[in-house]
Symmetry: C2
Subunit: 342 residues, 2 copies
Amino acid sequence: MTKPRSRRGGGRPTIADVARKAGVGAITVSRALREPGRVSEDLRRQIQAAVAELGYVPDPNARALASARAEVFGVLVPSLTNNVFAEVVRGIYDSLSDSPFRIQLGNTHYSGLEEERLLQVFGPQRPAALIVAGIDQTPASRKLLENAGCPVVQVMETGPDPIDMMVGFSHLDGGRTATEHLIEMGYRRVGFIGARMDPRSQRRLAGYRTAMEKAGLFDPRLITTTPVPSSVSLGRELFRDALAKVPTLDGVFCNNDDIALGVLFECHRAAIHVPKTIGIVGFNDLDMMQVAFPSITSIRTHRYEIGRRAVAMALAAIAGGRPQERVVDLGFELKRRESTAR
Amino acid sequence: MTKPRSRRGGGRPTIADVARKAGVGAITVSRALREPGRVSEDLRRQIQAAVAELGYVPDPNARALASARAEVFGVLVPSLTNNVFAEVVRGIYDSLSDSPFRIQLGNTHYSGLEEERLLQVFGPQRPAALIVAGIDQTPASRKLLENAGCPVVQVMETGPDPIDMMVGFSHLDGGRTATEHLIEMGYRRVGFIGARMDPRSQRRLAGYRTAMEKAGLFDPRLITTTPVPSSVSLGRELFRDALAKVPTLDGVFCNNDDIALGVLFECHRAAIHVPKTIGIVGFNDLDMMQVAFPSITSIRTHRYEIGRRAVAMALAAIAGGRPQERVVDLGFELKRRESTAR
DNA sequence: GCTCGGGATGGTAGCGCTACCAATAAGGGC
DNA sequence: GCCCTTATTGGTAGCGCTACCATCCCGAGC
C-alpha cells in the first residue's frame, strides 16, 4: 500500500500531511488557516503545531484553482521609471505587505493597446482586485475591467463615470492653479512646456489654457509640446525652442518637474535670471524642487497616498462593504517657492 | 445526463470545450498550445480555430498546479522608487513582455529579513526564475534561493561565489575610478558623501578609500555618511556637514547622483564655484547629470542592460543550456564633465 | 424526554490543466 | 514481408486545494 506520493511535487508537505499529523480532516486544516474562528480552539492549536513542525505553506496555485480566485492584485501603470507612478506603486506595495495578497505589476508604456493586452493576461488569473492608472481606457479595456468580476480602482485622476472606484485629483485644476499663480505673480507671457503629453498632461494643458484665456493672455504660440518621453534634458531643449519662438516669454508652467529642472538649468547656462526674467512652475513637487537653486514652485501631488487609498478601497470592497464614496479626490497643493517670487 | 458544468468557474471556456469543438482530446489541445511542433498541421489549425471561436485562454493557475511550475519570474529589489532599480526592473519587463512569463515584483526595503519573507512567499508559487538584487543575501535567503529549484540571477553587482548566476559590475572599482579621476584632476582634499549606505555603497566607499590611500590622501574625517535614505535634499545637508567638518574640502565623490545634485545646488546657493573650488563626481549617471549646470561628472552604469541580460540568462537556463559564463560583468564608464574640469 | 437549531467536523467531488504511459499509425531497414 | 523505430494521439490519474453537502453532537425550548 505504498502511496505514490509526491511523484511530481517537490516533496513539499501538503494539506493532507498536516491533516494526518494533526489527526483531523484536510478541510479542517484548510478552515483553520483561512477562517480560524470556525474551528475549535483545541484543533486549531493542534493544527498550528503540525503546520509549524512540517513547515507547511499552502500552495497558492492550488488555492487559486480550487477557489476560482487568486490572492493577487493586478496593477497597471504606464511607466515604471517615472517617479510619479513609482510612488503610487510604492504606496500600493506598502499597503499590501502585511496582507496575503501578492502583486502583479504591468507596464503599459502609455499604450492603450498594451493595456488591453495586459488585462487579457491578468483576467484569466482571476485577481482579487485591479488597480489601473488613468481614466482613459479604451472601450475594450473598459469592458474587460467591468467584467473582471473584482473591484477595480482607477488611480491618478478623478472624473465622471468611474468603472468602479477612483482615487486621484483633477489635473485640469492643477494646471489652472499653477498658471493662475504665475499670472498672479505678474508674469504675462506665460508658456506651457510639456513632454509625453499623455491624457493627464493634456488636461493640465487644458487647465493652463483656461487660466490664460480668463486673463486674456492666451496665445497658442506660447505652447510647446512633444510626444517624446519626458526628461530633464528634453526640458532644456523645449525651453530653448520656446524661447526662440517667443523671445518675450517671461514664465513657464512645466508639464512636470523634470522639464522644470531642465528649464532651470538652461536659465543658469544662458544667464537668464529666475525668477526675475523667467518664472518657473513644475508639477508633482519632487524632493529636488525645494533644494534647487533657486527653489522651484510646484504643484504637490499625493502619489503615495493615492496608492495607499486605492488599496484601502479595494480591500474594503473585497471585504464586502463597498465604500460610501466611490470617487475620492485627494487634491493637490501649490508650493510657492523662489522660482516665482518676483 | 446534464453535466453540472461551470458550477464554480465563471463559465469561461476550458480546454475540454476546445477539445470537444475541435474533435480532439484535451491533451492534444494542451500540446498544440505549448509544443505546436508535436501536433500535426491539420489538428493544429482545427484547434486554433476552436480556440479563436471560443475565446479560450488557458487558466494559469490550473497550469501551474498541474505542471508544478508557474510561468512567473520573481523579482526582488530593495526599492521601487530609486531610479537605479526602476531601470533594472524596466529592462526585465521589456525583455519579458513578449514571453508568456508574468512578473512578480517584491520590494525588500533594503532589509535582509524582508527579503527572506518575500522569498518564502515566492517559493511556494514555484516560479520559473528568480532575480534578486545584490549579493549579500542572509544565509537563510541564500539557502532558500539554492533550493528554489529554478534559475537564480543576482543582479547589480558581481562577486565571487554566485548562488547561480550574476550580472552587474564592481562597485568597488567604480568608487575607485571616480576617486582617482578627482585626484587626477588635481583635487586633494576629496570627500566621500553617502546616504543609505547599503552594501553597494559600502563597496563604493571602499573603492574611494583604496584610491585615497594609494595617493596618500586618505583622512577619515573626509568621509560623511548616513544610513538615512538618499535624496537630493539630504545631499545638500550632508555637504554642509562635510564642509563644516573639513573647510578645506576641495572635491566630493558622491554615493549617487541625487546626492551629487544636492551638493551642486548647495554650491550654487553658497556661491562656491564648481569645479574651481569644489569638484563633484556622482554615481549612476542619470540623465540630469549632463544637463546640470555645470554638468556633473558621473560613473555611468548600465542598469537597463543589467535587467535585460539577467532575463536572457534566466531564459537560457530555463531552456536547458546553462550559459557559459555564470558571472557577467557589464562594467561602467566614467563620464567626464564640467564639474571636475578644473 | 423529545425535537430542533446551530456549531463543529468530515467526505466527496471537483477546479482546469498536464505528466505519464499506452495505443495506434506511419515509415525504414533488412 | 516482418520487425523496429518514430511520430501522433488519447486515456487516466492526479497536482493541492476548497465548495458543497452530510453528519454528528450539544444544549435550548417545549
